[in-house]
Subunit: 290 residues, 2 copies
Amino acid sequence: MSDYLAKPDPDDPKLTRTVAGIDHAGAAVSVPVVEERTLTLFLNAQEIVTLMTIGDHPAELAVGYLLNQNMIASAAEVSAVDVDVDLGVVVVRTAHETDFEAKTRKKIRTSGCAMGTMFGDVMERFEEIRLPNAEVRTSWLYALTKTINTTPSLYLKAGAIHGSVLCQRDRALLYMEDVGRHNAVDKVAGYMALHGLSGDDKIFYTTGRLTSEMVIKTVLMGIPILISRSGFTASGVELATRANLTLIGRARGRRFTALAGIERIVFDIAPDEAAEEPPGLRRKAAGDDW
Amino acid sequence: MSDYLAKPDPDDPKLTRTVAGIDHAGAAVSVPVVEERTLTLFLNAQEIVTLMTIGDHPAELAVGYLLNQNMIASAAEVSAVDVDVDLGVVVVRTAHETDFEAKTRKKIRTSGCAMGTMFGDVMERFEEIRLPNAEVRTSWLYALTKTINTTPSLYLKAGAIHGSVLCQRDRALLYMEDVGRHNAVDKVAGYMALHGLSGDDKIFYTTGRLTSEMVIKTVLMGIPILISRSGFTASGVELATRANLTLIGRARGRRFTALAGIERIVFDIAPDEAAEEPPGLRRKAAGDDW
């Protein structure tokens, strides 16, 4: 099923541009490339970070970033999100001063910058999360891959972009893209928080490698199952095992490898019954970041 | 030619680990995955950032990071680099307080964190750099691709890793890998700075997309030619055009696309004379990050 709540808009003229160049034979070519803009994120009066982004869904990106960095604890803290697209600024406002701001005020009196302390706070929250029982059927996995690969996207149009998709059973719900893969994940997190979607019964599909950061973000979003076409890092596997996250990588066509939480996988379809990806719809490395 | 100054060591037991899991048929598999560790970087007494890295070449990574973030102006400022591998800490020491530290001290009195001001400083330096005349022959490009793809690497062993290679004519000089692509680039920058290698007559080959950040780092390294197997973003192309950087993307087998600085490309070999990549040596998306 592909009745998305939100999905890419490859026809949005703000997101791509056509550029002239030459090819390997010296012939003139013109190719579509994705835009990349700066977006400076403020939490109330405090400047947090300048992100490079394609520019869509700035409110979701900002809230998701703050959540996944543990700078806010939940969307309930947020009283307003002000976006100025032309200036490339997004301001997330809270009714009360956040713990992060209080900590920053304290920290700068001692060693200058609070950025270094955040990692510890994120890991503390990570350790507290108990992911629910859930299942992922291989028939869902194959259906999701097919839906995602055939959904019109900036990836199919211009390449060189990451995608993250929130799924429920065999349905793709939210498909976000961005030049930075963490931005795509943060947009999904922000959308979930702002629209009250829970992670409990969801499956998260993403294009990037299954690193520690990707595992941490998925666990913070409360999603028990993470799927990627790409490979694994050792600490990604280690953290997934600790959090009891189901970690499925190298998912291409019929093939996949699962290195954590394998008890959630239900083999309800023989791999032979799943179609191989037709070459034209394979995510090729042509636009890939690997 | 492949007489590297430095290259991957896929047999280093600290860099990979074998993990047990299951495949798409439910059969037990064991697969090698790359390690990923935290490395906390200090500039003198100031904590700068915690990086996720495979852990090799920490001194080069630290110095390259500080250079590419414009936190130090040159390796000449560096008086010592202390690495504690077990603690995951690297301290770069300078004889005198750096401009960055002075600015940070000033900045924290006003708005809390100096991180937001760095981007402006980097761009100021970017605008001042004039890249030299240079050439890249298509015969070199095809030879380099072949050398790099056949060099034993963590990528070939375990996938899910980025690679950056400093080249001179048709010779690959330095091949650095890391889980984060910016780490791989920063290791090359640090090695160049610590060993007094100039960028003027070099070619930079990297695995990631040609984004604004990748273009900025290449220009800061003084390298006039940047090649990637991956695609482009609009601001990557725009910045490359402004800096007169030769930007070659989607370089696979015989094919490539050049979107900036095309006058440096010398077509000295017909694409038909270049061999296509044998399937087994193609950088597959299997371990790719795209």
